[in-house]
């Protein structure tokens, strides 16, 4: 597995130019906080977190389709490694690069905050840290869900363009899908457990910070259970998407 990871990082560094993404992740927080020196931008790493999600989406869309497009999938799969190991190494590479981008934008945000944001009090800073934590969890879960769908689509349609397109729609359109699903929930109540609706709850969680008890109460009212159930079911959706994507990849003829 270590060999496969080394190879994937080698490729992402040389072939897909991850360093360019990292440079952008470093610069964006400085630009954002210079233009708008507000402490409210800090929990989202001043745009850095969204950028990391965008990277993960694009990288996931091309990580397999590119290998098929170049024909490099054959040497990749005709080695001593199993398809499962190749699949896992590719996912891990995308996730680790995503985390690296988050880390870079987090550090950049902290430095930019020291330089450009001067009006925050200790109390506000404490709240910002709390929201940063919940937003980070929200961002990671959001990324896992959207990239999972992108991976699934890219494996089905064998087109990175279509997968990236879908991912873009997903990034900006989950709110719309959640709203649309509200109509269906009105018709059939169990539909509230659909992943887009759950994603909306998780987005609320992301921005809730210290006001978690209010959200928990709302969830109790709507779902007759706690937040933990929302996270568990959503987690299961994510696992299911990746398992289906792997199954399709495993069956693909090369």
């Amino acid at each position: 597995m270590l060999t496969l990871l080394k190879q994937e990082f080698f490729k992402s560094w040389k072939q897909n130019r991850i360093y360019i993404w990292l440079i952008i992740a470093l610069i964006v927080p400085f630009i954002t906080l210079k233009i708008s020196p507000s402490v409210q931008s800090v929990p989202s790493f001043a745009g850095g977190a969204s950028l990391a999600s965008l990277y993960a989406l694009v990288a996931m869309a091309i990580t397999f389709t590119q290998e098929f497009h170049f024909g490099t999938i054959r040497p990749l799969l005709s080695r001593r490694f199993s398809r499962g190991m190749v699949f896992t190494s590719k996912l891990l590479t995308v996730f680790l690069n995503y985390l690296l981008m988050l880390l870079v934008s987090f550090i950049a945000t902290q430095i930019a905050q020291l330089i450009f944001v001067h009006d925050s009090t200790k109390e506000i800073r404490t709240q910002v840290w709390q929201v940063t934590g919940t937003m980070l969890i929200d961002n990671i879960l959001n990324m896992l869900f959207v990239t999972g769908l992108v991976l699934l689509i890219s494996n089905i349609v064998k087109s990175s363009g279509a997968a990236i397109g879908l991912g873009m729609v997903m990034l900006v359109g989950t709110g719309i899908l959640s709203a649309a699903s509200s109509f269906l929930i009105a018709m059939w109540e169990p539909f509230k457990w659909n992943p887009f609706q759950l994603l909306q709850v998780i987005d609320y969680f992301g921005t809730s910070g210290s006001s978690m008890s209010i959200l928990d109460m709302q969830v109790q009212q709507a779902y007759s259970t706690g937040l933990w159930a929302i996270f568990t079911v959503f987690g299961l959706y994510i696992v299911l998407i990746y398992v289906i994507a792997y199954y399709i990849f495993r069956k693909r003829s090369v």
């Binding site: 490729k11 040389k14 072939q15 024909g71 490099t72 999938i73 001593r80 490694f81």
Partner: protein, 303 residues
């Protein structure tokens, strides 16, 4: 025991029988030519051997270990170039070798491989593969197949896109590696090339092995033929009958087997004596291509 063994391997795609009880061996240090018409099952066979495709029944063993779709352990010592070179456009040739060398603790020497496959380290170490010509890509594909110091190399149309000098160099490379004990399973439509380098030949048609033997055995009994066009082929056939030449007319030409010391000069001499005017004359050496066509024709008639 053979390095690579295929025993009764079958593969069906729906109703289409792509491999039908395919059995043959590749011995250590041997160069084996896998030949057959388009769609015969060559690439399918190679894909099954390299673990890229599952098969319905039979066994594939490499280096005494089974090779299946799910069991790739044996593939560590197998290199391949199947159908076309697999190249990352934004990596240089050196990057490619470094990338694939990570697979093994004992990779081949980069410089040696680059020199032997004519990949100039100074130029190709800097240029990205997207700027390579087809021939360059093909040579890089061969270099990649060799980087893990494999015991067996599977090459599907390795001479594709190569200029005559490169063909010569690749041929020499394959032969020198075979002398060092590396085995090759090569599929190519350049039958003259295969005839020059292959020790053994496996002929596949419609997913079935039609013949698997050594190249000398396959070509044994070959006699050169003299092909003549004259102003009076009937007279020539009559003369051939009188002189007990083995002659046959086909189209406007008469083909005479050049056996028992019969050569062009002797034929011309006899024709001169009876004043038969020769319009055209040449010799034809029996070769792999002729044998293959003959075998495929026979197989077609049986089928």
């Amino acid at each position: 025991m053979a390095l690579l063994e295929l025993k009764n391997v079958s593969k069906k795609f729906g109703h289409y029988q792509a491999m039908d009880q395919v059995s043959f061996n590749v011995e250590a240090g041997h160069i084996v030519g896998l030949i057959g018409p388009n769609g015969a099952g060559k690439s399918t066979t190679m894909r099954a051997i390299t673990g890229l495709m599952s098969y319905n029944s039979g066994d594939i063993t490499f280096d005494n270990q089974p090779v299946t779709f799910n069991n790739h352990k044996a593939l560590d010592k197998m290199g391949n170039l199947i159908e076309y070179p697999s190249i990352y456009p934004n990596l240089t040739a050196l990057d490619h070798l470094k990338l694939y060398a990570m697979d093994t603790k004992e990779p081949a020497d980069f410089r040696d491989i680059m020199e032997r496959t004519q990949i100039d380290g100074e130029n190709f170490g800097k240029r990205k593969a997207k700027h390579f010509s087809l021939g360059m890509k093909q040579r890089l594909g061969i270099a990649i197949a060799l980087i893990r110091n494999p015991k067996l190399v599977i090459l599907d149309e390795p001479m594709n896109g190569l200029d005559p000098q490169s063909v010569h160099d690749v041929r020499e490379l394959i032969q020198s590696l075979a002398k060092q004990g590396v085995s090759f399973l090569i599929s190519s439509h350049l039958l003259d090339e295969l005839q020059r380098i292959a020790d053994d030949v496996v002929i596949i048609n419609k997913g079935k092995i039609v013949k698997a033997t050594t190249m000398p055995d396959f070509l044994s009994g070959d006699e050169p033929k003299i092909v003549i066009e004259t102003n009076d082929n009937e007279a020539l056939l009559k003369l051939a009958d009188e002189l007990a030449w083995d002659a046959q007319q086909e189209g406007g030409k008469v083909t005479i087997s050049a056996k028992d010391g019969l050569d062009v000069q002797a034929v011309l001499g006899k024709l001169g004596e009876v004043q038969i005017e020769v319009k055209n004359i040449n010799t034809q050496q029996e070769n792999l291509e002729n044998h293959l066509l003959e075998i495929l024709k026979d197989d077609g008639q049986k089928g």
